[in-house]
């Protein structure tokens, strides 16, 4: 009850920052033969007016953007992030992503992966800011349809 009243008093603050600051769209169905590799491109669109830290922020305290995939019939071998852009905040240079960009993941189908359709899931962890404020680190769920074929 106390929280309700506190929130009511501070209502303008309650509505800030709740929604995602980006949209994640995985590529189309990925078809891979057992034991082979394939690349997938996940599109990330940061909402206008916002930026997210790149995968390699210049300050050790900043939270990098990172795409991770859960174990499944495909194993993520490597991820390739785009080149970041530099923006100046006060006297600090930040390496950020804005707008739309792609993250390429190379997958390998396990030799014993079951043949047929499946879905692999992942998480995109990010931390977004706009010109005046930053928003708490967030995680966007990603799911990718895959088809594993026999060799």
């Amino acid at each position: 009850m106390l929280r309700f009243f506190a929130c009511a008093l501070l209502l303008p603050l309650c509505s800030l920052g709740q929604q995602n600051k980006l949209i994640v769209k995985p590529g189309q169905t990925l078809t891979v033969k057992r034991g082979e590799t394939a690349k997938e491109s996940t599109t990330v669109s940061v909402l206008p007016g916002f930026h997210v830290n790149s995968d390699k922020p210049k300050d050790e305290f900043l939270i990098p953007l990172k795409l991770t995939w859960n174990p499944g019939p495909l194993q993520a071998i490597s991820a390739r992030y785009p080149k970041s852009e530099d923006i100046k905040v006060g006297n600090q240079i930040l390496a950020v992503f804005t707008g739309s960009f792609n993250i390429e993941t190379q997958f390998k189908a396990l030799p014993q992966a079951p043949v047929g359709p499946a879905t692999i899931t992942g998480k995109l962890r990010y931390q977004a800011c706009n010109n005046e404020m930053c928003f708490r680190p967030s995680t966007a769920e990603v799911s990718l349809p895959v088809v594993v074929e026999a060799q």
Partner: protein, 200 residues
């Protein structure tokens, strides 16, 4: 008569244009504190500081408090920290304290090195979701409240980066200090100056 009306119309238009141009240069009078009858008590909390000591907000009754919610990963928060250090140093003897509440999920392992790196001279507490809920969620940082000596929120909370002089004038008002000219009338630097467009 019609000439007089025309002159009056022109004068009014000129006055409106003048007012409009003043607004565009962003020369504004600093906000005044809410009337005491309209001030709400800041929700109390108990949190640990970097030395492991439990601190209650209510311990600060009798002091003017700048309560700043921040995080180590927050760029605009970092810009404000030197201001707060300066305020703490300048006004501590007048009964003023800065209280920083870190909202870092990684806890002291992230916050202590940051305190050391920035040589922060004011008390830092480690926040949690319960305190965040008490203060409206705190999804956006920095969020800062200026509290009067009775622990009440004296001004509209600041969400996001604001002008240093906004804080200064509010602190000075609550401390009963004569406001400097700079804090009575200040020209707000455009945020674009702090956040230039990304390099092409």
């Amino acid at each position: 008569m019609s000439v007089w009306k025309g002159s009056l119309g022109l004068s009014l238009t000129a006055a409106l244009l003048l007012l409009s141009s003043c607004t565009q240069t962003q020369e504004v009078r600093a906000a005044s504190a809410k009337p005491e009858s309209e001030r709400k008590a800041a929700p109390d909390f108990k949190l640990k500081d970097a030395d492991g000591q439990t601190v209650s907000l209510s311990d600060y009754r009798g002091k003017v408090v700048l309560l700043n919610f921040w995080a180590t990963w927050c760029g605009p928060c970092a810009l404000e920290i030197p201001w707060f250090e300066e305020f703490e140093q300048q006004y501590k003897s007048h009964g003023f304290e800065v209280l920083g509440v870190s909202m870092d999920d990684d806890g002291w392992s992230a916050v202590k090195p940051y305190i050391a790196a920035h040589k922060m001279n004011y008390r830092i507490l480690l926040g949690n979701d319960s305190v965040a809920q008490l203060y409206g969620g705190l999804d956006a940082l920095p969020t800062t409240f200026i509290l009067d000596r009775e622990g009440r929120i004296a001004f509209t909370p600041h969400v996001g980066l604001v002008n240093k002089d906004d804080y200064l004038s509010e602190i000075q008002e609550l401390l009963g200090l004569k406001r400097t000219n700079a804090s009575l009338f200040r020209v707000r630097p455009p945020l674009a100056a702090l956040f230039p467009r990304p390099a092409e």
